[in-house]
């Protein structure tokens, strides 16, 4: 069994003392930021990027991955106990989770959320292990033309799946593409939009953009919200009743499936997964009116879905080197800082990295259940730390993190600028995710476009003559067509509205 061999090999990597430690650190930090409303995984991963430079690649990526799926666990705690989403992906958990808490079933809701997440995490880990090798074998056939078409698909996908106005999503992608143009063009060697500032010669650093748009902007946006948190300390018994179990497990199964699928899509991930699963659960329920009043399925489905989605979004990253969402884009940044160029060759050239990270996810999920259930009291207390103490310290770490990348004060200023931009976007209701994807995919797309054209001696037909490239372009065209069709547009808006 090749799969078994791979998993055993992976565990031999992830079960070393150092890697267990960093996995634990990751899920602990993940839970922490998950519990705290306001600060999310993209911001945290962005802040910790500079620190990972001092680690070797395997523990660095294990830790960063732990933060992402760990946050999915922590987010539900706040949602259930305080009726505030600790994470954007636990928004829907508030609806029924908090109602369960008000009925005195807070403990049961927490337990169901954690166990559903564990189940989903286990399944998603297996799915990654099964699906990745054949996918990356396919991806090894990818040359410049295929990469170009894949990135077109990725960008179109990020537009379709962005929630909110389509027009705004398109605008953000293009803004990202423009920002990505800054710096030296590798094909011609010409500098673009650098205004003779040598610091811009290599373009704007990804960490700078991410830290500003996600980290700093999130803090700014939170500052204007009133700090109104009422914590009900009574959690009650953690044990769900038999009836609750009976309702929860099929919902968990469905949530896991939906989450796993939506996680793989470009632009997908935990957020989309939880919304999708909740909407689906409500639709197929015999009595939809129970939802919003403490329905167990309304906790189990989105919580399993967000965890499954968080993990399966690693599939395109690890097999194709294409980030599906901002956190994955940050992971690419982390890999590139470590001198690893993300792509299908990672699996063969760095098997310890690939299988180590995958198996660490299962390990992390087990740790998370322990961290989140018996230790729930600690997290509840954490919810009482006032923002006026929390935010200045986060800001300080952001500044240190950006500075330490290139020892450049200029970049700290630039990050602050992007922080302001991010705040404006927040006010305008523009999601930064498509911008970040445009920013990271744009330069790669251009590079591959021009390389493919050079190799084909200027013949643009190469993109449709190569079968994989043609299929990818067709898929992108189909997606675009869907978006323009009024029927789909309504459904899309409906789906986001219903969940919100």
């Amino acid at each position: 069994m090749e799969l078994l061999d791979n998993l055993v090999f992976g565990f031999s990597v992830s079960l070393t003392l150092q890697n267990i430690l960093f996995c634990f650190l990751g899920v602990l930090v993940g839970t922490l930021i998950g519990v705290l409303p306001g600060i999310g995984p993209p911001a945290t991963v962005a802040m910790l990027l500079p620190a990972t430079f001092y680690l070797s690649p395997v523990p660095a990526l294990i830790m960063l991955a732990g933060i992402y799926y760990g946050a999915q666990y922590g987010g539900s705690t706040t949602a259930i106990l305080v009726n505030m989403p600790g994470e954007s992906s636990s928004v829907v958990t508030c609806l029924d989770g908090y109602q369960m808490a008000r009925k005195g079933r807070a403990g049961a809701a927490l337990a169901i959320a954690a166990l559903a997440s564990l189940f989903a995490g286990t399944m998603a880990t297996l799915l990654i292990a099964i699906a990745s090798p054949p996918l990356s074998r396919l991806a090894l056939k990818f040359l410049a033309a295929e990469y170009f078409s894949l990135m077109v698909l990725g960008l179109v996908g990020s537009i379709v799946l962005a929630h909110g106005s389509l027009l705004k999503a398109v605008a953000m992608v293009f803004l990202g593409l423009l920002l990505g143009l800054i710096g030296t063009d590798i094909n011609s060697g010409a500098e673009r939009f650098t205004f003779d500032v040598p610091m811009l010669g290599d373009g704007i650093g990804f960490v700078v953009v991410a830290m500003g748009l996600f980290g700093l902007a999130e803090i700014l946006a939170n500052l204007e919200k009133r700090d109104r948190r009422q914590i009900d300390p009574s959690i009650g018994t953690l044990m769900p009743t038999r009836e609750e179990f009976r309702l929860a497990w099929p919902a968990t199964l469905r949530g896991t499936t939906i989450g796993a699928i939506l996680g793989v899509l470009p632009g997908g991930g935990a957020l989309l997964a939880s919304f999708g699963a909740y909407a689906f659960e409500k639709k197929i329920s015999r009595d939809p009116s129970r939802f919003g009043k403490g329905a167990v399925e309304g906790v189990a489905a989105p919580e399993s879905a967000n965890n499954a989605g968080a993990q399966t979004s690693f599939i395109p990253l690890l097999t194709l080197g294409i980030p599906g969402n901002p956190v994955m884009a940050l992971m690419i940044g982390a890999m590139m800082i470590q001198g690893i160029s993300p792509g299908p060759q990672v699996m063969t050239q760095q098997p310890e990295l690939f299988w180590g990270v995958i198996t660490s996810m299962w390990l992390g999920n087990v740790m998370l259940v322990i961290i989140n259930l018996p230790m729930i009291g600690i997290w509840v207390r954490l919810l009482k730390v006032p923002y006026r103490l929390l935010f200045p310290s986060i800001l300080l770490f952001c500044a240190i993190g950006v500075y330490s990348l290139n020892n450049s004060g200029f970049e700290v200023g630039l990050a602050a600028l992007f922080g302001l931009m991010g705040y404006v976007f927040y006010k305008l209701g523009c999601e930064p995710a498509p911008l970040v994807l445009g920013f990271i995919l744009g330069p790669l797309m251009e590079e591959n476009l021009r390389r493919a054209m050079l190799l084909s001696h200027g013949d643009p037909l190469v993109f449709v003559q190569r079968p994989i490239s043609a299929v990818l372009l067709l898929m992108a065209a189909a997606l675009l067509l869907l978006v323009v069709l009024p029927v789909f547009r309504k459904t899309r808006e409906q789906a986001f509205k219903e969940a919100a």
């Binding site: 590798i186 060697g189 040598p198 001198g339 160029s341 290139n406 020892n407 390389r451 190799l455």
Partner: protein
């Protein structure tokens, strides 16, 4: 201009008085070495190895300050404008000093006039290698093949205006062949693309040594003056085209105007460090680097020679970054 002259005059005036006592005290505080790449690459490791040896022998900490950006121009500019007192130095590759001035329309500083060479540190060479599916087994066979193939065989480089690119252009001129230039982001990705068969030929350095050793690339020639000690079976390009040589090197630099006794002291320290065996071994492991010990006159001559050599090929192929 007048200001500049006054600065130089003032410095010269001051240095006459300061030199005697200054050189005895030097160094009385930590020395900073700017490095033009982020931590972790071969030049950075080389800088850290040298810095460690130097701080042991001069009794002051020698610290590394990474200032990457614009192919080294950011670090070079910071160094050139620092006080010429021997406390701000820069470790840089040859490309910053001898190629950047030809490809940047606006250089923030003059790499010959604003920079005082301290000492050469290490050198290595490029490998000219092909995808194993290419028929040619030797360099002459490859030249024959390239002459027959239409459209031209694609070659991978580490970027437009990079040493890989310019080295290959010089080879094309010498061999009288045409190849299509396909730039990648550095020698590593260029080598990978050639393994994958996207391009057929690649000219790159230490980053491709692993691929050569694993047989994923077939080495046809190396570009140094002598064969690479790592691959003694691969001939040099110069064995077929006498006079062709692309040797890449690292050097230590100080701001122009640094007092000569200070430069001499630093040069001694660098050369002392380079002659230690363990350092040489570590340099070899990190980037296939060979220690390069030169006299001041030899180092200056090397810089002038390479500056002219690359200037000519840049003018010929019209590479620029502006």
């Amino acid at each position: 201009m007048a200001m500049q002259w006054m600065r130089v005059a003032a410095l010269a005036f001051l240095s006459v008085f300061a030199t005697a006592s200054f050189a005895q005290q030097y160094p009385s505080r930590p020395i900073k070495i700017l490095v033009s790449i982020p931590p972790g690459g071969a030049p950075d490791i080389a800088a850290r190895l040298i810095a460690q040896k130097m701080s042991e022998s001069v009794g002051q900490p020698v610290v590394i300050d990474n200032k990457p950006g614009a192919n080294g121009n950011v670090a070079g500019d910071a160094m050139a404008k620092a006080a010429p007192d021997g406390y701000t130095l820069m470790l840089a590759g040859d490309s910053l000093i001898v190629i950047n001035p030809h490809i940047y329309a606006k250089m923030p500083f003059d790499t010959l006039k604003d920079v005082a060479p301290v000492a050469s540190i290490a050198s290595n060479q490029f490998f000219l290698s092909v995808n194993p599916s290419v028929q040619a087994k030797t360099l002459p066979e490859f030249v024959e093949l390239a002459k027959k193939t239409k459209p031209a065989i694609p070659f991978a480089s580490g970027g437009n205006g990079s040493q890989h690119h310019l080295g290959m252009e010089m080879f094309k001129q010498r061999a009288g062949i045409d190849l299509t230039h396909v730039p990648y982001r550095g020698g590593g990705p260029a080598g990978n693309a050639t393994v994958a068969g996207e391009t057929m030929v690649v000219l790159a350095g230490a980053s491709n040594a692993g691929l050569l050793r694993a047989g994923k690339l077939r080495g046809l020639a190396t570009t140094g003056k002598t064969r690479s000690p790592l691959f003694p079976d691969i001939p040099t390009v110069g064995e077929f085209y006498p006079g062709y040589e692309v040797t890449i090197w690292l050097g230590l630099f100080a701001p122009a105007g640094t007092p000569e006794p200070v430069l001499a002291r630093l040069r001694d320290e660098v050369n002392k460090a380079l002659s230690q065996r363990d350092l040489a071994e570590k340099l070899n492991v990190t980037g296939a680097l060979q220690p390069l010990i030169t006299t001041p006159a030899e180092f200056v001559a090397l810089i002038r020679h390479d500056h002219e050599k690359y200037g000519k090929v840049v003018r010929d192929v019209g590479a620029k970054a502006d």
